[in-house]
């Protein structure tokens, strides 16, 4: 069983190698078969492996496989080795399965693109890197995957590189995530210095023994790792890259910037729970970051006009929920939300992609409209996704996962009423903007002509994902309603147990409030964008509201802030010193000598008298020397 672990990342890697080396000479069909095929096989292998895993759990809760010794210096050893436990398995499943669907979708979506091979190569590489990330047995290998997905994200955001803005967006994504990565790397150094190992199981084991709980040391380690996670998962304050990352093709947004890569931070925090648990302070920080992020991003999502940006902000916001869950100690809830979110957000992006593709690459939602009848499959699937996003009670996967988070935000040991309140507000906001999106895009009158409806390659994945968006939640029910805990049972094996507060109000009340918030949100959306659109028009004349709207629209002006704080000064300093001041020192020395040469040359004026005077001065000097010695 364990011997095939390497196949899972190796298959996409093979696809990448074939496509990148020989891609130019292959026909599009072959490319699509190779590109999507390897991921499908990987998915099959994963599922087979998963079934085995569930049926006969390995002894220590994980499959491991060591490929080769990577580095071994002094006391530092690390290998190319994989390890799959329940947590990894969830991620593996999502990555390969959703990945496979998205690849299939892409085969249709990208069929007119010139760089078909490059697209699939990058996608395969991404899958490979992401798989390594979640399968890594040690943090160095995890870091390898971590950076690898960053690279692929960069490559794919800038896929249409001929537009400068896309390239800038790609760079931005890379830069900002790199900041987080660097922090994480420093965290690794610190961990290694303390524990002398970077193997994950070893860390899990050694950390509680070695560190004193809440000591500054463990806090800094956890903070640094968290910073890494925040960069990758677009959490405040490192969230600004994700909305821009929508410059990439929609399948990319679906795969990387919704389903998988942005949740790498979640994975990291969950994976390193041993470290995080030792520092309640950092746990709190994580929760607060999540809460703040979900609110900020949610507000921005409310006013966006670009369909993909709305989804992007909503992604940030949903990942914020996951962080919140992790922060309060509801580990499995966070992962569960990741699980459901992967389906419905991927679905939403893919569907949005289909919409955009059909509307001649139109992104603005106010230029869409009335697509309900024109693109029925897209509409219904989108609806399923939107319902999940808005957490429509009982009929969507999103409801089950989000409800858990809301509940634990208050009731878990790290929970807090304030966090709950924020999460609740977030739920309302989410419902509101989802409704707004649906109404504007699919109802109303047609504003842009439709070219061709998406083909079957594109619709089938949509349908599968839509089904999953509805049913995926059923594996885990709130325990006061129906005791189904299939998901947490599995995941819990790899995660610490949840501890709840002793005294909490009844869970039903919370569920009711949450449902109410969602429904209110949906109604508000309906009110403003369907029933009585005049209200919005009226608001547009109030300067304060317009200001607020612009503030939200620009993502709370984080970009401008960073621009003035970091980018501009950096550009200024570098451009100031383009010619290298240090070089001036040397050119200065040279000029001094040239000047001296000029001075000395004056003595060579060809006059005998000068020469004699020089002799005279010389002897005077030499004789004078005697008197001073």
């Amino acid at each position: 069983m364990q011997e095939v672990l390497f196949l899972i990342p190796a298959l996409p890697l093979m696809g990448f190698l074939i496509l990148s080396l020989a891609g130019r000479h292959l026909s599009k069909q072959v490319i699509a078969v190779v590109g999507a095929g390897v991921v499908c096989i990987a998915a099959i292998v994963t599922i087979w492996l998963g079934i085995n895993f569930l049926q006969a759990p390995p002894e220590n809760g994980a499959y491991t496989e060591t490929l080769w010794r990577w580095m071994s210096v002094a006391n530092f050893n690390c290998s190319f080795s994989f390890r799959i436990d329940a947590l990894s398995l969830v991620f593996l499943f999502v990555i390969t399965f959703v990945g496979a669907l998205i690849h299939i979708y892409s085969a249709g979506f990208m069929k007119h693109d010139r760089d078909y091979a490059r697209f699939f190569a990058s996608m395969n590489l991404f899958v490979c890197a992401m798989l390594i990330l979640v399968m890594a047995d040690n943090l160095v290998l995890l870091y390898l995957g971590w950076e690898g997905v960053g690279l692929c994200s960069y490559l794919l955001i800038g896929f249409w590189y001929e537009t400068t803005a896309n390239v800038h967006a790609a760079n931005k994504a890379f830069y900002i995530t790199r900041i987080g990565d660097t922090a994480m790397a420093i965290g690794l150094f610190l961990l290694f210095r303390e524990l002398g190992t970077l193997d994950i199981p070893a860390i899990q084991k050694a950390a509680p023994e070695h560190f004193i709980k809440s000591s500054p040391l463990i806090t800094s380690i956890a903070l640094l790792l968290l910073a890494g996670g925040m960069g990758k998962s677009a959490q405040v304050p490192l969230q600004t890259w994700l909305p821009d990352a929508m410059a990439g093709p929609s399948p990319v947004s679906a795969l990387i910037h919704a389903a998988t890569m942005v949740t790498a931070g979640v994975y990291l925090v969950a994976r390193m729970h041993a470290v995080f648990q030792l520092s309640p302070f950092v746990m709190n920080i994580t929760a607060v970051v999540g809460a703040v992020t979900l609110l900020i991003a949610g507000c921005s999502a409310m006013v966006q006009t670009d369909i993909k940006r709305i989804l992007a902000y909503s992604t940030i916001s949903q990942v914020g929920y996951m962080f919140l869950a992790l922060g309060v100690g509801a580990w499995s809830a966070g992962i569960f939300h990741f699980f459901t979110h992967a389906f419905f957000k991927a679905l939403l992006f893919l569907a949005a992609g289909a919409v955009i593709e059909s509307l001649h690459h139109e992104h603005g939602i106010f230029k869409m409209g009335g697509l309900k009848n024109k693109l029925p499959i897209v509409f219904y699937t989108f609806l399923a996704g939107a319902a999940a996003l808005a957490a429509l009670p009982f009929v969507s996967a999103g409801f089950f996962s989000k409800d858990q988070i809301l509940w634990y935000a208050w009731s878990a040991n790290g929970g807090n009423p304030l966090l709950w309140l924020v999460a609740l507000a977030g739920a309302f906001i989410t419902a509101f903007y989802t409704t707004r999106l649906m109404l504007v895009v699919f109802w109303g009158e047609i504003k842009t002509d439709i070219s061709e409806p998406p083909g079957r390659l594109m619709t089938w994945p949509l349908i599968i994902l839509a089904l999953l968006s509805i049913v995926a939640g059923f594996i885990e029910w709130p325990h006061n309603l129906m005791h189904v805990t299939l998901f947490s049972d599995v995941v819990q094996k790899a995660l610490p147990p949840l501890t709840e507060k002793d005294i909490v109000p009844s869970e039903y009340i919370f569920q009711l409030i949450a449902v109410a918030a969602t429904l209110t949100g949906i109604y508000t959306g309906y009110l403003l964008y369907k029933k009585n659109t005049a209200i919005v028009a009226k608001w547009k004349e109030v300067p304060a509201l317009v200001g607020l709207r612009n503030f939200f629209f620009s993502g709370w002006r984080f970009d401008q802030l960073y621009h003035t704080l970091f980018v501009r000064p950096f550009m200024f300093v570098t451009s100031l010193n383009k010619q290298d001041v240090i070089d001036k020192i040397y050119t200065g020395i040279v000029s001094i000598f040239q000047w001296l040469n000029g001075i000395f040359s004056v003595s060579q004026d060809g006059s005998v008298r000068t020469y004699v005077i020089s002799v005279l001065i010389g002897i005077i000097f030499i004789l004078a020397l005697q008197f001073f010695l």
């Binding site: 000029g598 040359s601 060579q604 004026d605 060809g606 006059s607 005998v608 008298r609 004699v612 005279l616």
Partner: protein
């Protein structure tokens, strides 16, 4: 007679010759001044010889004499050449050889 008094006289003569070299423009004068300096050195030698009661000082003077003679002969030949080529004996006109500072 003290030895230093002779040396003082020799030094004065020597320095006067040097002053002559510095202040005169005519090459002939400069040569003359050099002769004065050589002569001053001769005085010092003879004085030193006298002090130690040796003939070496005077012998040295003879060599100085010979050297002065040969020097003057070549020197004057050069003076003639200079005069023929430059039509002047002004030493400050002889400055074709010098550093040309490039800019």
């Amino acid at each position: 007679m003290q030895s230093y008094s002779v040396l003082v006289v020799a030094a004065i003569l020597f320095v006067l010759g040097l002053l002559g070299v510095l202040t005169r423009r005519n090459i002939i004068f400069i040569l003359i001044s050099v002769e004065i300096m050589l002569n001053a050195a001769g005085v010092a030698f003879v004085a030193a010889g006298a002090r130690w009661g040796q003939p070496d000082g005077q012998v040295m003077f003879l060599f100085i004499l010979a050297m002065a003679a040969s020097e003057v002969s070549v020197g004057l030949a050069l003076v003639m050449q200079v005069y023929h080529q430059h039509k002047t004996l002004d030493v400050s006109k002889l400055n074709n050889l010098k550093d040309d500072i490039e800019t």
